[in-house]
Amino acid sequence: MNANSRRPLRPALAALLLLAAVSAGAQSAEQILKRLEDAQRFRTQEAEGTLVITDRFGSRTKTFQSYAEGEERMLLAFTNPEEKGQKILRLSGEIYLYFPEAEEILHLQGAALKESVLGSDFSYEDLTGEESLLERYEPRLLGAERIEDREHFVLELKARKRGAAFPLEKIWVDAERYVPLKAEYYALSGKLLKEMEVLEVKSVSGRFVLSRVIIRDRMKKDSSTELRLGRLRLDEALPRGIFSLERLSW
């Protein structure tokens, strides 16, 4: 995707479009956000993927296998040689790490959640969000933009509670498929902290899934993390008891 292909609509035209949408009984910001979440919500997800972490010295590739159930449960196991066997378990809003060399389980709490996951632009805190976006943020429809010949809603999300990792977010939502195209994450001061861009959307079992996403941490120079999902299975039964300390330390 190149920047020139994004042609923001002129304000007057955008206003017209919005007016047309409203008159056609179009959705509120809450409805758009709910449809976005519903479209990206799977009963279960099993995936093999790659994280490409880039900084000014080059790129590092981490491979992983992940299992997720709903919004609350996730087990992620790294499979590349440097971190082979290291695992992350998210369960009931808590994060546990497993280090196979030390045969040790660590319960991450407090400030440790801010640590970067293996030097990527994801923090452990990013993995803890189990409330829905609507529960955490108050959305506002800013307008519409046509990008790469597709219509997108532009939403602004304000955190409902203090202490959110990102007090303000801006998100572009595909008006037809209800997948995000990009998002910007701001500090309370209005400073841009992170950017997310969706590079590829895959159709799996009739659902649209984000299969390539890049996160750029604007607090770090030349830093990005690209997430690529390879094999992906949706809504299929997962091994029993997989979200537990027993499976974490297996």
């Binding site: 066997g85 319960h107 400030a111 030097g119 990527s120």
Partner: protein
């Protein structure tokens, strides 16, 4: 005097043999291989003399893959420095059966919590004022031949029982084999059980371990949680098995505590601070003198009442960090300190440079003018060293 110790060719060949299975020949479909090679060069001052030394360590790990209910790992270590040695730190099979898990072989069990000091580590003991390689990623990595049974109790809790026929393993293949091949009397066995439970947002661990070889009962409690900062606490009793005299009860208690906090700084930088303490309430709280001072730190001798481990890690980026670590013996006012950067320059490759120093008088635990040949086991470190090295994992 500068003594240069080149690696003998025969020993290098030995290491090459060790590494042969990890050369680019693909492993079997159900085996995952990884290799870790670490090389150090050290310029040091020891016993009043300058010393130039080199050390090459290699680790080969072969792990089973494919069977979701059976795991196996064989790990081989080899190193060449002053001499050469081989070791098998891990060789185990784990089997998952309905409702339980079995582990048989040589591996590590981490009981309690703590990076350096952990009173809950009743199996291997993590309270000694170690003077090992402070630059290592894991400062406690002992393993043992064992049989363990793990019973999950819901998602967050479990029970674990363990039996150790030989106690913690000796480092080095020959010593380890000698221990394994020697007959073991029933009264020398060691074993225990622990339970790990969730207590609100904290994790509570309680366990009991008895060692015939070491002649002790060791019940313990450990707690890990977060209250402004991350904390861990552990308390254990080391009670003699044979008719313990109650008047010595005050000597049974050992404690450890730790705090950890990470602060993010502008520009993607961070600072992580850790402080751990080992407390022996009945230990020596006044500096020992003469031969008693020289004995502190040797196995079975009285320990000082308090040891500290402070650590600061400045993350200058996700790949570049500056570490400051120290082991402090406050009672005699001595310390072993290490400082330097590590840089994960390419995938799997880390370069590091450290300066370490023993800061203390001639009769302190950490002695500037130590005679390495007279130092207690494990304490024969140079009084000042510059260490340059690289680690590559693939």
């Amino acid at each position: 005097m500068v003594a240069l110790r080149p690696l003998p060719a025969a020993l290098a060949a030995l290491l090459a043999v060790l590494l042969l299975p990890a050369s680019p020949v693909p492993a079997g479909a159900d085996t995952a291989a990884s290799v870790e090679i670490t090389g150090y060069g050290m310029l040091a001052r020891a016993g009043g003399e300058a010393l130039l030394a080199a050390l090459l360590k290699a680790r080969l790990s072969l792990r089973s893959e494919g069977n979701p209910n059976v795991r196996g790992e064989l790990m081989l270590d080899g190193w060449i420095g002053d001499g050469a040695a081989l070791d098998i730190p891990r060789a185990y099979i784990k089997v998952r059966l309905p409702g339980l898990r079995l582990t048989l072989g040589k591996t590590r069990l981490s009981w309690g919590q703590g990076f350096v000091f952990n009173a809950g580590d009743v199996i291997f003991g993590s309270l000694d004022p170690i003077a090992s390689d402070l630059s290592a990623e894991e400062l406690r990595d002992e393993t043992a031949w064992l049989a363990a049974l793990y019973v999950p109790l819901g998602s967050f809790s479990f029970l674990e029982g363990v039996l150790l026929p030989y106690g913690p393993a000796s480092v080095g293949l020959a010593a380890d084999l000698a221990a394994v091949l020697a007959p073991v009397a029933a009264e020398q066995l060691a074993g225990g059980v622990r339970g790990v439970f969730k207590l609100g947002s904290a994790q509570l661990e309680a366990g009991y371990y008895a060692s015939g070889r070491e002649g002790e009962h060791r019940p313990y409690l450990a707690l890990q949680g977060h209250l402004l900062v991350d904390y861990q606490l552990a308390a254990a009793l080391h009670v003699p098995l044979a008719e313990p005299p109650r008047r010595e009860a005050s000597q049974w208690l050992v404690l450890s505590a730790g705090l950890f906090h990470l602060a993010l700084l502008p520009g993607g930088r961070s600072i992580a601070a850790r402080l751990e303490a080992a407390v022996h309430p009945a230990g020596l709280w006044q500096e020992a003198a003469g031969t008693a001072a020289l004995a502190v730190g040797t196995p079975g001798a009285p320990r000082y009442g308090l040891y500290l481990y402070p650590e600061l890690v400045f993350g200058l980026s996700d790949t570049l960090a500056l570490q400051l670590r120290a082991l402090i013996s406050p009672v005699d006012g001595s310390a072993l300190a290490l400082a330097g950067p590590s840089w994960g320059v390419y995938q799997g490759l880390t370069l590091f440079a450290y300066v370490s120093a023993m800061l203390g008088d001639a009769d302190d635990l950490y002695r500037w003018d130590a005679d390495p040949s007279a130092a207690p086991p494990g304490m024969a470190l140079p009084s000042l060293a510059l260490i340059l090295g690289a680690e590559y994992i693939y």
